[in-house]
């Protein structure tokens, strides 16, 4: 097995690889050094910032309407699956701290075909996820307008689409032209969100267990404690956990990757899992299923209103706007990193990762991220967007676990992770089974779209890149 990628694509481009030395502070190539500038806080902010928008601000209404308080279990199951995948991902990321994340591990562990399918599916999966966040943003913006006393005319749905599309265009343009340091802003938003949520949840919990009485309507949600519906909701809300692996897409820029990557990935999953379970508990204690179903995507606003009056609603609307924005923005950034990872290995044309001379930003990759997002956001299909995103990510997560087992068995000379998942193959095997298993509980239409996307990416491999060999390369 060689340790260099081999072959060329249909246009004669070869994967770009150079021997590098990784230190805690920089990646050193023959002629240049690449500074590692992201700390643990930055990594956590990417993980939490990507995840938190969906789970708390979009899903409580949808999930609570299905199964009531049993949705806490659904969120718990989602979190456990995310952890089962986050552990193997951490091991692989500390052994290969490079841009590209999940794509990189799978192409090296399982070969070019699996790599191409995952690399391109990751791109499209992130596009679906971003569109989903933007639609959530649209719903929150609509509520914000309502709070301000502005009522929109006949078709609020069209307004949501319009806001989602405008926001999608806005984020893409900002990312292409903006050179200000948005990372600091992102960290600030995540910190603000976390403190708002903790305060809100503390009050909500006190109300739910009867310590204080905010005069919320009586009648808890009707609970459906049955494995089928709970798993089906878990499959839907798993979108809330797409984000921890995005930390791996910036692995090449993380300081002390051996320490910070596992901490950021596992830490962000644990933190958001706790918040999700608490939020759902509060939401389903305050409202009945019917009320949650009626309030839909922005049920959290009604819950805020029930608990704390108009100020409560205001806090949730602002939180929801911030959270969906941070999720959408972080996802667009990850998408462009994912495209770069694939294009570097010549699985996409080299021009896909060109950098704009004026702004120094990867405008082609950002456009390939933002363009399809805008189209999908206009559809306003929250559930479909979320599930297709989950489907494509779950395939990747399952294969990451398989890749870990394969790489451990093949033992390339360079494989020397700083973080090792304990328990031999048990955790990665469980992670793979759980990831693939969750797919079975999805809506058939979502599965169909997901399979079609995967098949198209496989077709691309046979057309464009079948001569490229990446397995076992570094």
């Amino acid at each position: 097995m060689s340790s260099e990628p081999t072959g060329t694509n249909i246009e004669g481009e070869a994967p770009d690889s150079e021997p590098v030395v990784e230190t805690d502070e920089a990646t050193i190539t023959d002629d240049a050094e690449l500074e590692r500038t992201l700390g643990l806080a930055g990594g956590l902010a990417i993980g939490i910032g990507t995840m938190i928008g969906a789970g708390i601000f979009v899903f409580p209404g949808l999930a609570g309407a299905e199964v009531g308080t049993a949705a806490t279990v659904s969120f718990g199951i989602g979190g456990v699956i995310a952890l089962l995948v986050a552990l193997p991902t951490s091991e692989l990321a500390t052994a290969m701290p490079k841009s590209g994340g999940g794509y990189y591990f799978i192409s090296r562990g399982l070969g070019t075909l699996a790599g191409t399918i995952i690399g391109l599916s990751l791109w499209i999966g992130l596009v679906f996820a971003t569109a989903f966040y933007l639609v959530g943003l649209g719903f929150y913006a609509l509520d914000a307008l309502a709070l301000l006393g502005i009522t929109v005319g006949v078709s609020p749905g069209a307004v949501v689409s319009a806001i989602a599309v405008v926001a999608g265009i806005g984020f893409t343009v900002l990312n292409v032209t903006g050179t200000e340091n948005a990372a600091t802003l992102q960290n600030g938003i995540v910190a603000l969100l976390l403190s708002m949520l903790v305060a809100f949840l503390a009050f909500g919990m006190a109300d739910a267990v009867g310590l204080v009485d905010a005069g919320t309507p009586p009648g808890e949600a009707q609970n459906v404690w049955a494995i089928g519906p709970i798993m089906s909701v878990a499959a839907l809300v798993f979108t809330s956990y797409l984000g921890f692996a995005q930390v791996a897409t910036v692995a090449g820029e993380m300081k002390s990757p051996g320490r910070n990557l596992p901490l950021a990935m596992i830490g962000s999953v644990l933190i958001v899992m706790m918040l999700y379970v608490l939020t759902i508990f509060v939401a389903t204690s305050v409202f009945t299923q019917d009320a949650l179903a009626a309030a839909g995507e922005t049920a959290m606003v009604e819950i805020g209103r029930a608990l704390l009056g108009t100020p409560g609603a205001l806090v949730i609307v602002i939180g929801g706007l911030l959270a969906t924005m941070s999720s959408a923005n972080a996802s667009i950034l990850s998408t462009s990193r994912a495209i770069y990872g694939v294009s570097k290995d010549a699985l996409l044309p080299g021009w896909a990762s060109r950098i704009n001379l004026k702004y120094g930003t990867p405008h082609v990759a950002l456009g390939l991220a933002g363009g399809p997002v805008i189209v999908l956001a206009a559809t306003r299909q929250v559930q479909l967007l979320a599930e297709v995103a989950s489907f494509l990510h779950l395939i990747m997560y399952g294969l990451i676990c398989v890749a870990l087992i394969a790489i451990r068995r093949d033992e390339p000379a360079w494989y020397d992770p700083d973080f090792v998942v304990p328990g031999g193959p048990a955790i990665p095997a469980a992670g793979a089974l759980a990831s693939f298993g969750l797919i079975a509980f999805m809506n058939p239409l979502s599965i169909g779209v997901g399979i079609a996307v995967s098949a198209a990416t496989a077709g691309w491999y046979f057309y464009y890149a079948r001569d490229i060999g990446l397995k076992g390369a570094l």
């Binding site: 690449l34 500074e35 500038t37 990372a183 910036v250 570097k344 950098i355």
Partner: protein, 234 residues
């Protein structure tokens, strides 16, 4: 010989003025070519596109520094954070000082600020190495509270420079060290300051550096603190 790090934004068409090159002729020089990227851009991606052009520019610069006197080499870094990169490479190359390039002709008069909590020994040593046997006059500037201890420090430093055969003036000022430095700039071609003097810390990076550069036009050499002894000091 001591080493000086010369960070330069290599792809922005920035160059090193000839005056700074000849001033540093008595020193070993590491040219640190850096390119700051927005966070949307992975450094590796920028490397693919820019590495060749940057390396070519750096090789030319390094050659010019070598022609001016000392040994010279270069490093190329793609980064999101200029300050972190300068500090890391300065520590790795064990540089005595790093330079903020500014326009200057030949340097005849050097302004050395001793204000604040700076490492006096390192600064005087560095100045002695830098001037060597050249005909460069030095003004030592001490601003802030004047008391016996600080004027002693100033006198001691002046004596050591004169013993090394350097024409040395001293000057004191009250008030803010930063303003005093700016007031003293006219008539000097380059400035030497110490790193981590509390009121001057932000001068190295940030807006005040621009103010000094704008006021002085000339280059600024920042003498690094001794990191090994830092840990033992209170």
């Amino acid at each position: 010989m001591s080493r000086v790090l010369v960070p330069i934004e290599v792809l922005e068409g920035k160059t090193v003025p000839p005056g700074l090159m000849s001033l540093l002729g008595t020193m070993d020089v590491t040219v640190l070519g850096y390119h700051v990227l927005p966070e949307q851009t992975p450094p590796d991606q920028a490397r693919h596109q820019y590495e060749e052009r940057a390396t070519a520019a750096l090789e030319d610069l390094t050659e010019e520094f070598a022609d001016a006197g000392g040994a010279a080499d270069h490093r190329l870094v793609f980064t999101h954070d200029r300050e972190q990169t300068v500090r890391r490479v300065a520590a790795e190359t064990d540089a005595a000082a790093f330079a903020i390039a500014g326009m200057t002709g030949d340097v005849d008069d050097l302004l050395v600020s001793l204000s604040g909590d700076v490492d006096l020994d390192r600064i005087t040593e560095f100045v002695i190495d830098l001037v060597d046997d050249r005909d460069i006059a030095v003004t030592l500037l001490l601003a802030g509270e004047s008391d016996e201890a600080s004027s002693d420090r100033l006198a001691t430093a002046a004596i050591r420079l004169r013993e090394a055969g350097i024409e040395t003036d001293t000057s004191t000022a009250t008030g803010s060290p930063f303003d005093a430095l700016l007031d003293a700039v006219p008539g000097h071609d380059a400035i030497v300051i110490g790193e981590a003097a509390p009121s001057l810390r932000s001068l190295v990076f940030g807006d005040e550096a621009k103010r000094v550069a704008a006021a002085s036009v000339g280059p600024v050499l920042v003498v690094r603190r001794d990191e090994a002894s830092e840990a033992t000091e209170p």
